[in-house]
């Protein structure tokens, strides 16, 4: 008699577990199909020579050669360097400019209007942005920027063709095109800081700089952390703007392809133009590791000093 309750409770427990897994099964199947299997396949492909024109079963196992070739490829190393510059530049410089704009907008009249104005580029399609900047503002002959330089008797620049400045030219467009959303997030962060802290700081005789340094900045840490992590992940995956503005290559007339190539553009070209799917997949893993390291470093740096919400 004493065994009966424990048997039924065991059965109930099994039933509960099975029911739980049944409820979980759609999510498990989803992750299997869209995450686990593709990642597993990618690992497999990164060790093989495969051009996608033949079935994967006809591909050849080549061990770590794809990874070795990757690090011997000058263009890949260029792409890593460019993407590093791009990520740091667009994210941190973009955040700095956005913070200044957010602070200005918060303290001037018609704030919603200025916010709208700053946000407008975010909702403009990137293809249109690339076209306007590439064929209008950055055009060497008769372009807006060179016309301004001409008024100051300064020599014209090849904004997109000169390999020394082409990447920075496109980075400026990327910052301009995305700054609106960063301003909005900063504005929300700034509005979330209670006035009492500023009043207390004023009573203690703090200057505006001290208020910013010791009140605003520390309390914006969660916002900065959020923007840094999401921004860096996005920046390492940048593709469309740089592809549209020249790294896409064909018929673009933009000659500084090597100077502006980013990792994702390199991966696209390696996979779909050079038909080296194995090497491209190996590159994707390197990209994954880079993003992981960057995210880890940013989290460590910003957690120091306490960002409780992200602990």
């Amino acid at each position: 008699m004493s065994g009966l309750p424990s048997e039924s409770s065991r059965r109930r427990s099994v039933q509960r577990t099975v029911t739980g897994y049944l409820f979980l099964s759609p999510a498990i199947v989803f992750y299997l199909i869209f995450l686990i299997i593709p990642v597993g396949m990618s690992v497999y492909i990164s060790f093989r020579k495969w051009n996608m024109l033949v079935p994967l079963s006809s591909s050849t196992f080549i061990g770590l050669k794809n990874y070795q070739d990757l690090f011997r490829d000058e263009l890949f190393l260029c792409a890593v360097k460019n993407t590093l510059i791009w990520a740091i530049g667009t994210v941190f410089l973009g955040m700095l400019i956005a913070l200044v704009i957010a602070l200005l907008i918060l303290n001037i009249r018609w704030a919603p209007f200025w916010r709208f104005l700053v946000f407008a580029p975010v909702v403009t399609p990137l293809v249109a942005v690339a076209r306007i900047w590439g064929s209008g503002i950055y055009k060497t002959s008769g372009g807006m920027l060179n016309s301004i330089l001409a008024m100051w008797q300064l020599p014209p620049q090849h904004w997109l063709a000169d390999s020394r400045i082409a990447l920075f030219s496109i980075m400026s467009v990327a910052i301009w095109a995305s700054i609106g959303s960063t301003v909005i997030v900063f504005t929300a962060g700034l509005k979330g800081i209670p006035d009492e802290y500023y009043q207390a700081a004023k009573i203690d005789g703090a200057s505006p700089w001290h208020e910013f340094r010791h009140v605003t900045l520390p309390l914006l840490r969660p916002t900065i952390l959020f923007l840094s992590v999401t921004g860096l992940i996005g920046a390492w995956q940048a593709f469309d703007l740089v592809f549209q503005m020249g790294a896409g290559g064909t018929q673009s007339g933009v000659s500084a392809v090597k100077a502006i190539i980013l990792l994702n553009v390199y991966l696209y070209q390696t996979a779909f133009q050079n038909l080296r799917m194995g090497r491209a997949t190996a590159g994707a893993f390197v990209l994954f590791l880079i993003i992981l390291c960057f995210t880890f470093v940013v989290l460590r740096v910003l957690r120091e000093g306490g960002v409780e919400s992200y602990e």
Binding site: L75, A150, P155, G249, F272
Partner: protein
């Protein structure tokens, strides 16, 4: 009411079945091409009347002739063509017919994507096409398709610009061209070029590699060893060829922002361009076309020679309707009309403005092929040399383009650029040969 509804439903079912039945009986072919716009839809005048037929009109003509065949046209931009083939193969929705650049032929043949034409068509190609086109359609020693277009290069110049500076004729030698380019270049007070004496186009492999290959061969150099095992680009001839290009930059005849696409806006005086550009020039220049456009052989250093490429039509090896696909291609490319020309020849000459590859098409379109633009291209075919059809050709050409552009930018010397190109290309060739 109920009865009427039943009858209506029955009629609907019959109609659906009938339509479905008709569609099921049709053979559906998909033809993929890099042609677009007027090349597909034809040229229309200002009243919307069709002036010359595009590919679609020929396909419609065939479908009327063969009501059991339905042909769908898929236009893919040139730069995306190879990946489109790749993606559609992976997805199991490959087209039946391709019009592809011969440069991709080795990869596609090695992977078993394309197949050789039926014996009768192979014989027709061998017998009736210009040798360079046959060479272009020959992959790994086998004819893998029907040549559609041969493209070679000439110097296209602005007659008005040359006359303005007192030049009565286009340059004959490369040195003359370098000298003329710097004199034809116009700058504003800040030093910005407002009109280029000469312009290359960076960022597009053909526009960079083909003019360089012409110069390389002119100097007596070679691209690859005969067995395709080695690149010979960094030979003294290769370095001299690139130095000759760099001279245009050094003397101010061009710069890195120049673009061949600005010729129709009359912002460039001289370009090295292919034959297919004719209609774009006509459309861009309008009434000024004849006044402005002049064509001459590429200025030589030692001998006249120009690079050449081929496009050929072929059938996917996985097509379920190979016979129908080759039948259509035979009708389109080999069957002669009353004018002793083929439909493809008419399309190439009258609408696209390109040079056809079939001898009868070259002979029997005197009006169009002897016009001010195309005549020189036809004459220069005798001096044309086909680009090599090697494995990973697209990747190799991109590497060469990038290295040449590095030299244009001044980031590398001609020797450094070609040494680097050779090293990278040799590593690729070692994988395949």
């Amino acid at each position: 009411m109920k009865r009427a509804l039943t009858i209506a439903l029955c009629l609907l079912v019959v109609m659906v079945l009938a339509t479905g039945g008709t569609q099921a009986a049709k053979t559906r072919l998909v033809l993929q091409t890099h042609w677009s716009d007027f090349q597909l839809e034809g040229v229309v005048d200002e009243n919307g009347k069709l002036v010359s037929k595009g590919l679609r009109q020929y396909v419609e003509e065939y479908m009327k002739l063969k009501p059991d065949v339905e042909i769908e046209l898929q236009s893919v931009p040139m730069e995306e063509y190879l990946q489109k083939i790749l993606v559609s193969r992976s997805a199991g929705v490959s087209p039946d017919i391709y019009i592809i650049r011969s440069l991709w032929g080795v990869q596609l043949e090695d992977s078993g994507i394309i197949e050789s034409p039926p014996p009768a068509l192979i014989e027709d190609v061998k017998k009736n096409y210009v040798p360079a086109a046959v060479e272009g359609a020959t992959i790994n020693g086998k004819i893998m398709g029907i040549p559609v277009e041969v493209g070679n290069y000439c110097l296209v110049y602005n007659k008005a610009h040359l006359a303005e500076k007192g030049y009565k004729a286009p340059p004959n030698t490369w040195d003359e061209m370098v000298d003329m380019a710097s004199k034809l270049t116009v700058r504003d007070k800040t030093g910005a070029i407002t009109r280029y004496g000469f312009s290359f186009l960076a960022g597009w492999d053909s526009a960079v590699v083909h003019p360089f290959l012409g110069l390389l061969w002119d100097m007596g150099g070679e691209y690859l060893s005969p067995d395709y095992k080695k690149s010979l680009l960094n030979s003294p001839e290769g370095i001299k060829a690139l130095e000759a290009e760099l001279e245009l930059f050094r003397t101010g005849g061009t710069d890195i922002s120049g673009s061949v696409w600005e010729f129709p806006q009359q912002k460039v005086s001289m370009i090295i361009m292919a034959s297919w550009y004719e209609n774009s020039l006509k459309q861009g220049l309008g009434a000024d076309y004849e006044k402005v456009v002049g064509v001459a052989p590429i200025p030589k250093v030692n001998k006249n020679i120009n690079a050449m490429y081929t496009f050929f039509a072929t059938v996917d090896s996985g097509s379920r309707h190979k016979k129908e696909a080759w039948d259509f291609l035979a009708w389109f490319t080999a069957e002669e009309t009353a004018n002793k020309t083929t439909r493809l020849g008419d399309l190439m000459v009258e609408t696209i403005g390109s040079v056809p590859a079939r001898k009868t098409d070259l002979e029997n379109h005197p009006k169009d092929l002897q016009d001010l633009y195309t005549k020189t291209f036809i004459d220069e075919l005798k001096n044309a040399k086909h680009e090599p059809n090697m494995a990973q050709a697209a990747e190799i050409n991109t590497i060469l383009m990038q290295e040449i552009v590095e030299a244009w930018h001044g980031s590398k010397t001609a020797k450094q650029a070609l040494d680097d190109a050779t090293k990278k290309i040799n590593a690729i060739l070692a994988e395949y040969y």
